[in-house]
């Protein structure tokens, strides 16, 4: 971890230079480490760093350090976390639905049911779009197109087995076509798939709403529906549920503690996270980042992880990515 150490110094020096030292008096003396099982710049990394910022600013932890352990859709980080954070009172882990899918499709020996859920934090809607000059004007048009020929309906979206792929499969299934025949072209993220959408190389695309918001607002892409169960303020596209399709999929992110953390240790972590999520600092971050609040406390989150794991497994099996 030498680089974090060096950069820590660097950041402190710069912080000092700018007169922005983030030292604050804290009511609690938790000293936490948050692991983001992804590289710098991704969704889990920014969620971890936002959590870090909010926990320290709201005084719910004395110090918080973020470490990145990228690899294999998060499963490398998860395996490491399960090994190192067993029973630990000061280590947290941030992950989301993509890790559920990655554990299954990589046949990883570990999954999220082995760690201790602390809280569900955010849940971002996915959006289904078509190019602006596409003859497809509505979800019904898209369903009809899929039903007519599932193989020539080219979908683009994020990594194979991720949330985007799952949503495309759910829509294909709802159209009455065989999801195993889906023609889904995976890109490494919302950026590259956006280029494919704008270049008119695909029939339809799926991504996090925030990633494509600019193009939807400018009219370069036509949003047909969002995957969130309820309408969201500021988003014109209607939920799939409101359009008669019983599909709901949220790109959620949550925070976990290691296996076997219980008693007072667990309570302290739960309360620190809960207070942070309810703080004004966290709400401001949500707003700035365009994230949707999807908070659920520990027990509810635990049940949710169980049902989500089952559901994702069923879908991935139906598209042939798991057995």
């Amino acid at each position: 971890m030498r680089n974090y150490f060096k950069l820590g110094i660097l950041a402190a020096v710069v912080g000092g230079t700018l007169g922005l030292g983030t030292l604050q008096a804290s009511s609690q003396d938790l000293e936490l480490t948050i692991m983001a099982p992804a590289g710098a710049g991704g969704g889990w990394d920014s969620a971890s760093r936002s959590m870090q910022e909010a926990m320290m600013a709201s005084g719910n932890a004395k110090s918080v350090q973020v470490i990145n352990v990228p690899g294999a859709g998060g499963t490398v980080g998860l395996a490491q976390f399960i090994g190192s954070a067993k029973g630990s009172s000061n280590q947290l882990f941030v992950a989301g639905i993509t890790l559920v899918g990655a554990s299954i499709s990589n046949q990883s020996p570990v999954d999220l049911t082995e760690v201790t859920p602390i809280a569900r934090l955010t849940g971002d809607p996915l959006v289904i779009v078509v190019p602006k000059d596409s003859p497809i004007k509505s979800m019904d048009d898209l369903l009809a197109t899929i039903k007519k020929d599932v193989a020539t309906t080219i979908w683009v979206g994020g990594s194979a087995g991720g949330a985007d792929h799952i949503l495309a499969a759910l829509v294909t299934k709802a159209a009455g076509a065989d999801p195993s025949k889906i023609n889904y072209v995976a890109y490494s993220g919302g950026g590259e798939s956006l280029a494919a959408m704008l270049g008119g190389q695909a029939t339809a695309g799926v991504s996090g709403y925030g990633e494509w918001e600019g193009q939807i607002k400018s009219g370069d892409l036509r949003a047909l529906a969002i995957s969130y169960p309820e309408p969201i303020e500021g988003i014109e596209a209607k939920p799939l549920k409101a359009q008669g399709l019983d599909i709901e999929l949220v790109n959620w992110r949550g925070v976990f503690a290691g296996p076997g953390v219980e008693g007072a240790d667990l309570d302290a972590l739960k309360s620190a996270v809960e207070k942070t999520v309810k703080s004004a600092e966290w709400q401001a971050i949500l707003k700035a980042r365009g994230w949707t609040d999807y908070y659920a406390p520990s027990d509810e989150f635990k049940a949710f992880i169980g049902s989500e794991t089952e559901r994702v497994k069923t879908i991935l099996t139906s598209i042939g990515l798991a057995n």
Binding site: G41, E53, E213, S218
Partner: protein
């Protein structure tokens, strides 16, 4: 001439004392992390995000841009002096740059890299200001088939250019392609060639291969020769500054590198590697002294370094116009924008014109600062080469292993690094070129997914590759470049036989 009035407003913003200071801090940090192995600009920017949260958006984005450009400058320094490219875009710089450094011409090598980067970044930033909205329209039309054509050209030119014969080049390339297949397949999410090792699921890290083959392999090789014929690098021969001839041989490669680097950097999946390799190939072909290539030709540093920095400016095109980050650093900068509720994208140029032009203007300023900062440092850097050989190589071994481990702390990584070091030694011993292996690893996975995406979109019809004129032309160029040398040689032989 709206662009220019906007740009002048931008300079008015960037020249404010506070913003000048942010730019200066940015380039200082950027140069530092570029020189230190294992810490890239992406990680630095990510770590600084919370610190800058309270700054005004203009100031912090200007600082990030400074870090980005500074990192590009710093990365070439270790490549030239220690033959340890800290990032994949500096691999080519190490080829000729390190040879120059060991012939006592480290000063001119560093200088041509710094000035070339400056010229390229200057021209490319101007290109960014003027062309961005148009370039991006063309860039999104670039389909998977076009990417595949571009990769083919890169493969062929690289394996034909490096090494003593195309066959040796292709062998080395094949090794890289094989390594590139390892890891989770992007299109299906299944693991390939990982042999059950979790550390391989993300494939082989490019810097691990590059540092292993270049730095470690080199250290082994020098150690193996040491007893018989110690080849001592000459710290400084002649002036540490560029001579008149150096200038004459550098300026055209700078400009050509820029012309290659900027548009490819602007492609959503273009990257900095292809332009550096293409630039090297072109300079080698056009050079008046091709025999110097492989022994330290200044053109081989000037062109690729310019291409590298021009492509860095190019990646800002999709970032600012589409909100599309095409490199890790760009992704973190995107997060920086979002922190202030600014969504880069088609509306950015109209909604936040002041910010965009302020950024463009501060890129110009960051460039001037980098040049001022880097040229005086050249004299200090070349002193490194006066260190006695065993110490220097021991230092390189420690430095290289530490850097690789810092980027990815795992036992697998260390074993891979050592393994690649041994492979690098063997390749050197039997005269196989090293660069094509690195190219194979970088571009192999891209070519693989580009080809398969094309076929997926055409429902398995390979004709899609030649139905699009653009990809058909590129594939045609690749085929000609591969076959032509053999045909010409055959014809020459044929004529000789007739005589």
């Amino acid at each position: 001439m709206d662009t220019f009035s906007f740009l002048i407003d931008g300079f008015a913003l960037a020249i404010q004392p506070a913003n000048l200071i942010y730019a200066a801090i940015g380039v200082l940090i950027g140069t530092a992390v570029g020189v230190l192995p294992g810490i890239g600009p992406a990680l630095t920017v990510a770590l600084l995000l919370p610190v800058t949260f309270k700054l005004d958006p203009g100031g912090s984005i200007i600082m990030f841009a400074g870090i980005y450009y500074g990192g590009m400058y710093g990365g070439s320094t270790t490549a030239i002096l220690l033959n340890a490219p800290g990032e994949s875009a500096s691999v080519v710089t190490a080829l000729e740059g390190n040879k120059m450094a060991r012939a006592g011409r480290g000063g001119p090598a560093l200088a041509t890299a710094a000035i070339g980067s400056f010229v390229a970044a200057l021209v490319a930033t101007a290109g960014l200001a003027v062309l961005a909205p148009y370039l991006v329209k063309i860039a999104v039309k670039f389909g998977p088939w076009d990417y595949f054509g571009l990769m083919l050209i890169a493969f062929v030119t690289v394996s034909a250019t490096f090494g003593s014969s195309p066959l040796r080049g292709l062998t080395s390339l094949a090794f890289g392609l094989w390594l590139g297949l390892m890891g989770i397949d992007q299109l299906t999410g299944q693991a390939r060639l990982t042999f059950g090792v979790p550390g391989l699921l993300d494939g082989v890290e490019v810097t691990t291969l590059a540092v292993g083959l270049f730095a470690i392999g080199e250290a082994f090789f020098v150690a193996s020769r040491h007893l018989y014929k110690p080849e001592k690098p000459i710290p400084v021969k002649g002036s540490i500054w560029m001579t008149r001839e150096d200038w004459k041989r550098s300026w055209k490669p700078w400009l050509r590198g820029t012309v290659i680097g900027f548009p490819i950097g602007a492609l959503p999946a273009g990257g900095a590697e292809i332009p550096t390799f293409l630039s090297y190939t072109i300079e080698r072909k056009l050079s008046s002294k091709p025999e110097e290539f492989g022994r330290g030709a200044i053109e081989g540093v000037a062109g690729p370094e310019a291409a590298n920095n021009a492509s860095a400016a190019g990646t800002l095109v999709p970032l600012l116009t589409l909100g599309l980050p095409t490199s890790a650093t760009a992704a973190v900068m995107l997060a920086g924008f979002q922190q202030y509720n600014i969504q880069p994208g088609p509306l950015l140029f109209t909604q936040h014109a002041d910010l965009v032009w302020g950024l463009v203007a501060s890129l110009f300023i960051a460039n001037v600062m980098l040049l001022v900062l880097n040229l005086p440092l050249v004299g200090i850097w070349v002193k490194l080469l006066k260190i006695p050989l065993p110490w220097l190589y021991a230092g390189i071994l420690v430095f290289a292993s530490m850097g690789t481990l810092a980027a990815n702390p795992s036992v697998t990584e260390l074993l891979l690094l050592t393994g690649f070091g041994v492979v690098g030694f063997v390749m050197r011993r039997y005269d196989y070129p090293i660069a094509p292996a690195v190219v194979g690893l970088i571009l192999g996975p891209l070519a693989d997914s580009a080809l398969r995406r094309s076929l997926q979109m055409s429902l398995g019809d390979p004709m899609i590759l030649v139905q699009h004129p653009s990809s058909a032309i590129m594939i045609g160029i690749a085929v000609v470049a591969l076959v032509a040398p053999f045909v010409f040689r055959g014809l020459a032989k044929f004529r000789q036989d007739e005589d």
